[in-house]
């Protein structure tokens, strides 16, 4: 042991420092001046990997349709797998911003990661377009001129659902969601609209994310016997919840409603259990919109699979950025003009045209959808051109 104290083998580590620097640093020296550098920070591993891929596909489809260019400029991609790990988010964002010097940052799915990215983007004044994460704060207290979102805020679909459920004469409702800010914000948005219209939320229940042992809550719901249930879940948890809810026999007696993610990208796994469930979202199957049909065909041709709402959001991120570039002739250095052009843009989205609110969140139609034959079929427009209230945004 004594000898162990004296043995210093630092040769390796010093050699390592010298070698290690040259390796990931390569892009730094291979900087091509005339391409626009796009940084994609999305989940490519873990729970949300499928979503990250869909967004990437959507974005790239829009670029392909522009002949590989946006605003007349060629595109160079830099990707980082954010692993949906918020702890690594600032570091990963810095990789793209400081190492790769990207002109625009696109990301991400997970709200916690997106919040951290937003902070970094505000500090470094990097242009950020968020293609999914719905945390209200991003276009609320954290809003900034350089931060845009092409998806939705948690508040939007939930608020619309509050109106729908009140219209459908439900009086007493129980809510259930994972206990994290996105879930809580969804419930808050729902509650706001629902109670304004005279309904009452009998009980708000939360379970720790990402716990999927729902049985105790279903038993609670059965004991409380509300008129209806509003939930927020997504991904694997959504699949299990919908199946458990059906298996517990509750679906027959107490109708289940949810924010759209309850049945998005999950219908194949949910099977018959999801049939008839009503959800609200800014996208639906069976929209009578030419742009949507064209988008779906093109997407299916390019990637051999059907697009989903995430692909649409990625596609629109590219479209929004293209609109900005068009306004400045492709010159990203004219930042204020670029941002102004993006603010004024009307995005011709597959979900229907939308504009941006002052806080840079889409002002969009929220659709009421019903699950039929493994599709989220459009029922009606639940809220026309719904704008997020952008509480706390000082811009």
């Amino acid at each position: 042991m004594e000898q162990g104290f004296n043995r210093r083998r630092f040769l390796l580590s010093t050699a390592g420092i010298a070698g290690g620097l040259a390796l990931p640093g390569a892009p730094l020296f291979a900087q091509s001046a005339n391409k626009i550098r796009v940084g994609l920070m999305l989940p490519y591993t873990g729970t949300y990997a499928a979503l990250g891929n869909a967004i990437t596909n959507g974005f790239k489809l829009a670029v392909e349709q522009g002949g590989g260019k946006l605003g007349g400029r060629e595109i160079e991609y830099f990707t980082v797998d954010d692993e949906s790990d918020a702890a690594k988010a600032p570091e990963n964002a810095n990789k793209l911003i400081k190492r790769d010097n990207v002109d625009v940052l696109i990301g991400t799915v997970h709200s916690g990661v997106a919040l951290a990215m937003t902070r970094v983007a505000r500090e470094t004044k990097t242009l950020l377009i968020i293609p999914n994460a719905g945390a209200d704060e991003i276009t609320g207290p954290l809003c900034a001129p350089n931060i845009f979102r092409t998806s939705f805020s948690a508040w939007q679909p939930a608020y619309a659902m509050g109106q729908v459920m009140a219209e459908r004469k439900h009086k007493n409702v129980v809510t259930l969601s994972w206990k994290y800010s996105f879930g809580e914000q969804s419930v808050a948005g729902f509650k706001e609209a629902f109670e304004k219209a005279g309904g009452k939320v009998v009980k708000e229940m939360y379970l720790p994310f990402p716990n999927v042992e729902f049985q105790p809550y279903l038993t609670e719901i059965a004991a409380l016997k509300p008129d209806a249930v509003f939930v927020f879940f997504a991904g694997g948890g959504a699949v299990k919840f919908v199946k458990d809810y059906d298996a517990a026999g509750l679906k027959k007696t107490i109708p289940l409603y949810g924010s759209g993610f309850l049945t998005d990208g999950t219908l194949e796994a949910q099977g018959d259990s999801a049939e008839g469930i009503l959800t609200t979202l800014h996208y639906a199957d069976g929209l009578d919109i030419a742009k949507d049909k064209a988008f779906r065909t093109a997407y299916a041709m390019a990637f051999k699979m059907q697009p989903d709402v995430y692909a649409v959001q990625g596609y629109d991120a590219a479209q929004l950025f293209a609109a900005g570039l068009a306004g400045v002739g492709g010159d990203v250095t004219k930042r204020e003009a670029l941002i102004a052009a993006m603010e004024k843009a009307t995005v011709d989205s597959p979900r229907g045209r939308f504009t941006l609110s002052k806080a840079h969140n889409p002002v969009q139609d929220i659709y009421l959808r019903k699950v039929e034959a493994k599709q989220n079929k459009l029922v009606s427009v639940a809220a026309k051109a719904l704008a997020d209230p952008a509480r706390g945004c000082r811009m």
């Binding site: 591993t45 873990g46 729970t47 990997a49 499928a50 891929n53 206990k179 229940m205 939360y206 379970l207 720790p208 990402p210 716990n211 999927v212 042992e213 049985q215 105790p216 809550y217 279903l218 038993t219 609670e220 059965a222 004991a223 016997k225 991904g235 694997g236 959504a238 699949v239 299990k240 199946k243 458990d244 298996a247 517990a248 026999g249 509750l250 007696t253 107490i254 990208g265 999950t266 194949e268 796994a269 949910q270 099977g271």
Partner: protein
């Protein structure tokens, strides 16, 4: 909470606890008999669930999928033991921890490469798809009861196996003293291989059994891993009975934690663990 709700919650906790026992029993066997910390145990659970999905899709029948899946799991267990674990028995626990940590990453990425990253459902077999009406609004799926029955059956089989069979005798001897058993002319390497295969198969079987209820999704293995560790810590390393008691306790703590103190539900299980450790640092039961 009225009395009938209370009873139903009790049933919920029992059912959850039994499933936990099934997953954790393989872990505790590998721990207790081979002295190996297997972090990849959750990955075997995940592997089982995905096998149930893929094989059901191929054969159209969950039962066939489970039979083929079990055969595959045994094979995978043997292979891993032969290729990797058998070389680590003389090494530190630390090396085992790291090896299995590396395996988690590998299994998760292989899953992504082979099956993809989507969420999939596994249909409940026709025969078991009914429900029993428990209260006015609530019914209980027969499949869940079936799962519990299978878990109880397996607990009994394991008890019998360890107590009354020659294999069980050798396993018990092997867990107390590797050298001595070797000296008695028992092929300890074979015993270890069998135990490891058994452990892997138990985890994978739990995954297959749970797949129709839980559906299959990326990262599902990591979710059960830690709770299984808590089961083993509370129950006592290597004790199958301890694992059963601990799993049932955790089922109770989790279920009623969610009902009584929903804000601290995630903590309930760990508070239970700390309490048990204060009382008995080596877990409730010490040996098989």
């Amino acid at each position: 909470m009225d009395f009938s709700t209370f009873l139903i919650q009790l049933l919920n906790s029992l059912q959850y606890g039994l499933l936990l026992f099934l997953v954790a029993s393989g872990l505790t066997l590998i721990f207790g008999i081979m002295g190996i910390i297997n972090l990849a145990h959750g990955s075997f659970y995940m592997m089982g669930a995905y096998m149930a999905f893929s094989l059901t899709a191929l054969s159209g029948n969950l039962l066939v999928a489970i039979v083929v899946g079990i055969a595959l799991s045994v094979l995978i267990g043997f292979l891993l033991e032969w290729a990797l674990f058998s070389r680590l028995y003389k090494r530190d626990h630390l090396d085992q921890v790291l090896l299995t940590y590396g395996l988690i990453l590998i299994f998760e990425e292989l899953r992504s490469l082979i099956v993809g990253d989507d969420v999939h459902g596994v249909p409940i077999p026709e025969l078991l798809s009914a429900s029993i009406q428990l209260s006015e609004t609530l019914s209980y799926p027969v499949y869940r009861l079936f799962m519990s029955a299978v878990c109880i059956l397996l607990a009994i089989v394991m008890y019998w196996l360890i107590r009354y069979t020659r294999l069980g005798m050798m396993i018990r001897a092997g867990s107390s003293n590797r050298e001595m058993v070797q000296a008695l002319g028992i092929n300890i390497d074979l015993i270890y291989r069998i135990v490891f295969g058994l452990g892997v198969t138990l985890a994978a079987f739990a995954g297959m059994l749970a797949a129709p209820v839980s559906s299959v999704y990326p990262g599902m293995g990591n979710q059960v891993l830690i709770i299984c560790f808590v089961v083993v810590v509370i129950g006592g390393v290597g004790s199958v009975w301890g694992a059963l008691v601990a799993a049932l306790l955790i089922g109770l703590a989790d279920t009623f934690g969610k009902v009584i103190a929903p804000d601290y539900a995630g903590l309930a299980v760990y508070v239970l663990m700390a309490a048990v450790l204060l009382w008995r640092p080596e877990g409730i039961f010490r040996r098989i």
